[in-house]
Symmetry: C2
């Protein structure tokens, strides 16, 4: 590596390597309720199902910044506190990129949007969470974020033979 | 999404999105020494410099599995304990992927390889670490891994205007 290349590729990254798309997912709680977005009926993926707000991390922002932005865009709320609780790393089959999801627990202030292009935000009482249709990973992630104290990493690896590995590791300080 | 698509792209990942290449970096300590690899002189990136062992996470393995494999391949040691201490996320400029590095502290047993294609492993006494040529992020990462107890996330974002954001966030349980 020559100094002239340094600003452009300091980590020597190759486009040919397996990569993961970075995302955020934000669990916002208030009193005994969790903020979920009911996905718009026109969404190609999971129309009508409930999931916490979130989205892609852009090239010029940190995961924290993406969490603040996505929460504002999708729900209208302003983040008051933000705590990284864990990661989900999921590898896809074939030649698709995987995902790495930075998963937050947040407190937030403000009034909910009534509706937006992504869906409609709702405060769902904890007692009602089991009764609504949610995305496949939601219940496992909810337990990891809200019902245990440790930083977690959840790995889901889809192998080429069709099997899947699922593993949770807890990082205790 | 139709059920038939489910096994192939469960997270609806798009190749068009910003992605990060996942890697591991493993700080192995024994008594008062740290295991470092002196990079081979034929390496295009950072020839001759010292850095902990590590490498790419492959599609079919978790970060933990990659850490165990890379340590064995590069140094000959077998992992005895492995603790995820933090993450480095670095976004490149232009249209390159970024990197996300899972950073471990490990204990390991066995006898060091004399040399291999990646370089030569050495036990470096802590007192000598400041005297050897290391990669640019090494000193900051060493302090985060070995000199403070919390899980950390280190973000380095290269912006399109040439500026760089560097931010460390600590996650206390």
């Amino acid at each position: 590596m020559t100094p002239a290349e340094f600003p452009y590729n300091p980590y020597g990254v190759s486009r040919a390597r397996f990569a993961v798309v970075p995302r955020v997912l934000v669990f916002v709680t208030r009193d005994d309720a969790l903020l979920l977005l009911q996905r718009a009926s026109h969404k190609k993926l999971w129309p009508g199902l409930y999931n916490p707000p979130g989205g892609h991390i852009e090239r010029d922002e940190t995961p924290d910044e993406a969490a603040v932005r996505e929460l504002q865009e999708e729900t209208g709320l302003q983040v008051q506190s933000l705590h990284l609780r864990g990661l989900l790393m999921a590898h896809a089959q074939n030649d698709l990129p995987g995902v790495v999801v930075f998963i937050y627990h947040a407190q937030a202030a403000g009034t909910l949007h009534k509706i937006n292009d992504e869906g409609t935000p709702h405060w769902i009482p904890f007692a009602a969470l089991d009764a609504i249709p949610t995305l496949p990973d939601f219940n496992q992630l909810r337990a990891l974020v809200l019902e245990q104290p440790d930083f977690f990493t959840l790995y889901k690896i889809a192998h080429s033979d069709g099997s899947e590995s699922v593993r949770v590791v807890y990082q205790r300080s």
